[in-house]
């Protein structure tokens, strides 16, 4: 039997609680000012009509207006399309590459460095570079490369059908490196005995990946999946810089719509509507995460 000492303010003080608090204080203040207070303020603002100088309360008007905007449906569909493409093509790629790279015996460091390189490039710079690569004329960078293989030039960002896949391609390239590093680290924690045992049983490489590696990575994959879904639901940088939502609203995403509400018109800045849609998005994503963790808890336990 161990006796837990009773906690009192005095023991807290003697145990160095005060200095802990003082050390934490700058961080707490920074968070309160730059993170928590804007969150609270945006909830307040979603119930107001404001030009940031004078405000009036309008109840749920902003929500009604946002939900009746015909562009909202387009934006939701576009965002889901982006998320789906990113999920189908962008999500398995880093897992695959990480598994392959972990099998490589020599020069592992070189491969990880190469894979991580795109992450080092500032995102805006990367997008502007790709915008240049995506030049739709036959002499554009990608079109020249396609030309060598006898493939006709593609319109990339300049056509409604190809604009969104082009954004996903760049986003996948930009994000893969970070995910690969995480999966590589997770692969290190797979006990080598499991592979040895599988080998003794005569398992092929694909059997080992399917029955040993992937189940062992399950926890990490679940986390990465929800992180990716949350990130793609908030995609903004790519449509904003590549296309501004065009052509013909083909790449307007929910976050871009929020931005447009707030900033497109210098004078009619609808900050109330922008925050109302942000609040709606936050609620949807919070619910999604909640359900997801409930489900994966169950799967992980079984």
């Amino acid at each position: 039997m161990t006796r837990t000492p009773k906690r009192t303010p005095a023991t807290w003080l003697r145990g160095g609680g005060l200095s802990t608090l003082v050390f934490a204080l700058p961080m707490v203040l920074v968070f309160a000012v730059f993170s928590w207070s804007p969150i609270v303020q945006s909830f307040v603002m979603s119930l107001q009509k404001t030009n940031l100088i004078t405000s009036e309360w309008v109840g749920l008007d902003n929500f009604v207006r946002v939900l009746s905007d015909p562009l909202l449906g387009t934006a939701v569909v576009n965002t889901l399309y982006f998320a789906a493409l990113a999920l189908v093509f962008g999500f398995p790629l880093p897992i695959l590459l990480a598994v392959l790279m972990s099998e490589v015996r020599r020069g592992k460091g070189v491969y990880s460095a190469l894979a991580y390189l795109p992450v080092i490039i500032p995102p805006v710079v990367a997008v502007l570079l790709w915008k240049f690569f995506y030049d739709a004329s036959p002499t554009g960078v990608f079109n020249s490369v396609l030309g060598w293989a006898g493939i006709p030039p593609q319109p990339w960002l300049q056509a409604q059908a190809t604009a969104m896949p082009s954004l996903v391609l760049e986003a996948t390239w930009a994000a893969a490196g970070g995910s690969i590093i995480i999966y590589l680290a997770a692969l290190l924690s797979v006990p080598p005995e499991l592979y040895d045992a599988a080998e003794v049983d005569g398992a092929s490489i694909w059997h080992k990946i399917w029955h040993v590696t992937l189940p062992q990575l399950r926890g990490v994959i679940f986390i990465m999946l929800i992180l990716q879904v949350l990130a793609t639901a908030q995609v903004f940088l790519e449509p904003f810089l590549f296309t501004g939502g065009g052509p013909n609203n083909a790449t307007v995403t929910v976050l871009l719509l929020i931005y447009r509400y707030a900033f497109q018109n210098s004078l009619g800045g609808n900050y109330g509507e922008a925050t109302a849609l942000s609040v709606l998005l936050a609620i949807v994503l919070a619910l999604l995460s909640f359900v997801y963790f409930k489900l994966t808890d169950k799967w992980s336990a079984s």
Partner: protein, 451 residues
């Protein structure tokens, strides 16, 4: 003991943080009136800063009690309202005509009626332009400083490569189409390009509509009617459709705005495009255009009621400044923007300073004062004009015969945004139904106007 010294260290660190934050907001102590004034957009070349520094010195010498602080400034929808609310706008800045009415109705501009009258040139302004900065009672909220008319800008070099005469630019939309086709066939570049993003697509479509004799909006304050689906707009869109899909003479980039189209033009990738007549200054200063290849003419007008879309901007004072700052601001506006239009010595000094730093002097504009004063002011600086006037003859010969038409006043920018989508649809979808697009845009615009 140890924990106490740790706490002390942490407290000191916290105090240090607060102190350094406080230092950011230190005020003036020189006793002079500090005035933060808009200069030019971020990204201007070093010579532009030199020219401004020289002008700042001249002004401060004449007004030793005022300290001018130049602030980079560009009127941009996204940042303007936030800067205004956050108090980071300069004390003196410029806004386009399209926004001046709403701003003054919102109380976001300083009333300068008394100051303008005291300066004595209230009655010299072109009344159509002065009306842009007056409220219903005739109070004046700013100084119209510059106006432009839409013009057709073209690349003389590409004209020559295509076997066209750069001294005889197109005068009808059909000739524009032929020239565009010739250029793209001979050079592989875009013969004609069109802005389509960030509200500029709507701006240019409105200009093209008016040039084809149509209007996108009718009525006066309080009762605007959207007339977007009119024969002029249809003609303007069919023109774009034919160039894009029949002639393939618009290149391969259909997502352009004011900045990117200037960049592409300056890089020699565009044969012709329409934009404000005053864009030459920015093309040379911000986009490194080679002046030798530049050409400017009037845009073709067709149809009974055709006109040239004009716009411009006004110099205004932030509503948050003190009385002393307001007085200083008016002095600055008068000196920096207005005197060069009115006074020979000021005009020559201004032009000389700009010429010395390699800035453009003599870019074609529309007069904000009466036409006579404008033409006279060009005489004063005739020797200093350094823009290639002989490459702009098409514009100077034609502009005073064109009827200037102002931009639509109701929800201007929001409706431009709706029209962006229409322009993009026509340029990226071969089977776009122009009538259906315009009917929808018209209904959406009317809904905005009825709010």
């Amino acid at each position: 003991m140890k924990s106490r010294s740790k706490a002390l260290a942490a407290s000191l660190a916290a105090v240090g943080l607060v102190a350094s934050l406080a230092a950011c907001s230190a005020g003036s102590s020189s006793g002079k009136t500090e005035l933060r004034v808009a200069t030019f957009p971020p990204g201007a070349d070093a010579a532009a800063y030199e020219a401004f520094a020289a002008q700042e010195e001249q002004f401060e010498k004449a007004n030793p009690d005022i300290d001018i602080i130049g602030v980079e400034y560009e009127w941009e929808g996204p940042t303007f309202a936030v800067q205004l609310a956050g108090g980071s706008l300069p004390d003196v800045f410029t806004v386009p005509f399209t926004d001046s009415k709403t701003l003054l109705e919102n109380g976001q501009l300083m009333d300068v009626t008394a100051e303008v009258e005291e300066l004595g040139y209230a009655d010299k302004f072109n009344p159509i332009i002065l009306e842009q900065v007056q409220d219903a009672d005739g109070n004046i909220f700013g100084f119209p400083r510059q106006a432009y008319a839409m013009g057709l800008h073209y690349n003389r070099d590409l004209f020559e490569q295509a076997g066209l005469d750069p001294d005889a630019p197109p005068t009808t939309w059909d000739e524009v189409r032929e020239a565009a086709k010739a250029i793209s066939e001979a050079t592989g570049k875009a013969g004609f390009a069109q802005m389509s993003m960030n509200n500029t697509g709507g701006w240019q479509l409105t200009a093209a509509t008016i040039a084809h004799g149509g209007r996108t909006q009718e009525g006066t304050t309080g009762s605007y009617t959207s007339t977007i689906n009119n024969p002029g707009t249809v003609a303007a869109l069919e023109f774009l459709h034919d160039l894009r899909w029949e002639d393939n003479s618009m290149g391969s980039n259909f997502l352009l705005d004011w900045g990117t189209i200037n960049q592409e033009f300056a890089a020699g990738n565009i044969g012709m495009y329409t934009s404000g007549s005053d864009v030459y200054t920015a093309l040379v200063r911000d986009f490194s255009l080679d002046p030798a290849v530049y050409g400017l003419t009037v845009i073709p007008l067709e149809g009974d009621d055709a006109g040239v879309l004009g716009g411009g901007d006004i110099a205004v004072v932030s509503p948050t400044v003190s009385e002393a700052e307001k007085a200083a601001a008016v002095k600055w506006i008068d000196w920096y923007y207005m005197q060069k239009l009115l006074n020979k010595d000021a005009a020559v000094l201004d032009a000389q300073t700009l010429v010395d730093s390699g800035q453009a002097v003599g870019t074609p504009v529309l007069p904000v004062l009466d036409q006579e004063t404008y033409l006279e002011s060009r005489e004063w600086i005739a020797d200093l004009i350094n823009v290639p006037l002989d490459q702009m003859t098409g514009f100077f010969d034609g502009i005073f015969e064109q009827t200037p038409v102002g931009e639509p006043k109701g929800k201007t920018q929001e409706i431009y945004a709706l029209l962006d989508t229409v322009v993009q649809a026509v340029l990226t979808d071969q089977n776009a139904d122009i009538d259906a697009l315009l009917t929808k845009a018209d209904a959406d615009a009317q809904a905005l106007l009825d709010e």
